[in-house]
């Protein structure tokens, strides 16, 4: 699933249709989970893609919708760390005003200007599934605690993976 801004941008929209991307809306996520489909969620959202090269092993704020969906649809969460994304697109600056002109959140700039991915290794590490108990009526504080728990598990996977990634 991709951010809805993609649907409004010429050619990106066309690409999304051709490859079967759908908008990252809660309705879509719920539909897929209720249909017992596997869903990959990036809880950092577009904030996560805006990380600079020097911030590549950090995690920014997580949204809370994925936890609520997991509880409501009784879906396990498999914490997953992806290492190498920062190396693939080594962003040195994000141009937010230019992005606005194109209807995008920002335009990433790399040392070679264009945000074309480099041929690098990507290491993906999966953790043990997390089964969240709940009724779907949890308040924001309770949900935030669950989000932080998932985030900590992912962060631990990143830390464990850093040395191995360096050896690749």
């Amino acid at each position: 699933m991709a951010d809805t801004f993609i649907n409004a941008v010429p050619f990106l929209s066309e690409w999304a249709t051709r490859v079967g991307q759908i908008s990252g809306l809660p309705q879509h996520a719920r539909r897929l989970l209720e249909d017992e489909r596997l869903l990959m969620v990036f809880p950092e959202g577009t904030r996560g893609t805006a990380k600079l090269y020097k911030e590549r092993h950090s995690l920014v704020r997580f949204g809370t919708g994925f936890v609520r969906l997991a509880i409501e649809t009784r879906s396990p969460i498999v914490p997953t760390a992806v290492l190498g994304g920062g190396e693939a697109v080594p962003t040195v600056k994000n141009l937010y005003r230019l992005g606005k002109l194109f209807g995008m959140p920002y335009v990433p700039i790399t040392p070679y200007l264009l945000a074309v991915p480099l041929p690098v290794h990507i290491l993906i590490r999966f953790g043990e599934p997390i089964y969240l108990d709940g009724t779907g009526q949890e308040n924001d504080k309770q949900v935030h605690e669950m989000v932080e728990f998932v985030k900590a598990r992912i962060y631990a996977l990143i830390e464990q993976g850093k040395q191995r990634y360096a050896r690749l």
């Binding site: 409004a8 010429p10 929209s13 066309e14």
Partner: protein, 306 residues
């Protein structure tokens, strides 16, 4: 059963009338347009639904059921007709109540939901209409749909169903999508390839008759096979796709062999309107007979429109 079909002289109206007549129903049509070759078992009153002869039909014939085709195609709607659907829908609802009609089917369009970048891919019946500010020609259709839905609480003794049909296509080569695909060159918005959802016109007519026979109550989306990207639609019908930058498209429509489209229709060439039809299928057991390629082939092999 005596069934009044409004808009009977249109292509979908005729197909519905033939389906009903084949099932042994007595069909009473109302339309401003004539249908001279109407078959046995089908009679047509040529009048505006808002006029006295239309009400006379309900008073004298006392039909049990109504099929109201409130759809006005949004490609060539005259300015004066912008409130036609709503006005005629209100009129027939009043007749139904006054003359004790027990079942009513209001046929609307899936374009009710609007086409926006933020919309979910599958629209469900509980969603509100969106993007009418960009497409004022649709406002009448949306108003008629919402007004028809109010019959559910306004006239609780009548089984009312509002069907939101996806585009129809077939050998008649009539309808919104057929108009768009009519010429050898079909315009699209450069950089966009939205999914289009359509069903064979005979399947659409059968869905309406199936809804009537099940005494449905509520709002239901009605669709057929899997939607296709508009580029595939154009390719499969042997047309030439003319991809035009969005800013230039309004200037070129109606020129250089391209069809005329209202400005608001451009959003429909950028974003998909796809409906979830699960509720209708579950409730009625309806399945389409023609898949997407059968439907496109039937359109290609169809005769010239009148």
């Amino acid at each position: 059963m005596k069934v009044v079909v409004t808009g009977i002289a249109g292509r979908l109206g005729r197909l519905i009338a033939l389906e009903l007549a084949a099932e042994g129903h007595t069909v009473l049509g109302v339309d401003k347009r004539p249908w001279p070759e109407a078959p046995a078992g089908v009679s047509v009153v040529e009048t505006d639904l808002r006029k006295r002869p239309a009400e006379d039909l309900f008073r004298t014939e006392r039909p049990e059921a109504l099929v109201h085709l409130s759809t006005v195609t949004h490609l060539h709607v005259a300015e004066a007709d912008h409130r036609m659907s709503l006005g005629s829908t209100k009129a027939v609802m009043d007749y139904c109540d006054r003359y004790a009609v027990t079942r009513a089917i209001f046929v609307g369009r899936h374009t009710y939901y609007g086409a926006t970048a933020e919309s979910p891919l599958y629209h469900t019946e509980d969603e509100p209409p969106m993007a009418n500010e960009e497409f004022p020609e649709l406002a009448d259709l949306v108003a008629a749909d919402l007004y028809a839905g109010s019959a559910l609480w306004r006239y609780p003794r009548m089984d009312t169903a509002v069907l939101r049909l996806c585009y129809t296509l077939g050998p008649s080569r009539h309808g919104t999508l057929a108009e768009y695909l009519r010429g050898p060159k079909v315009p699209t918005v450069m950089g966009f390839d939205p999914l289009f959802q359509f069903m064979h016109e005979q399947d659409a007519a059968r869905a309406v008759v199936v809804a009537l026979s099940h005494s449905l109550r509520g709002v239901y989306n009605v669709a057929g096979p899997t939607p296709l990207p508009v580029s595939t639609l154009i390719q499969e019908t042997g047309r030439e796709q003319i991809a035009v930058p969005e800013a230039l498209l309004p200037l070129l429509l109606g020129r250089l062999g391209l069809p005329r489209l209202p400005r608001g229709a451009i959003s429909h060439l950028k974003h998909p309107i796809v409906i979830d039809t699960q509720a209708f299928r579950t409730r009625t057991g309806f399945t389409h007979r023609f898949d997407e390629y059968d439907t496109l082939q039937a359109f290609c092999e169809g005769g010239s429109p009148d």
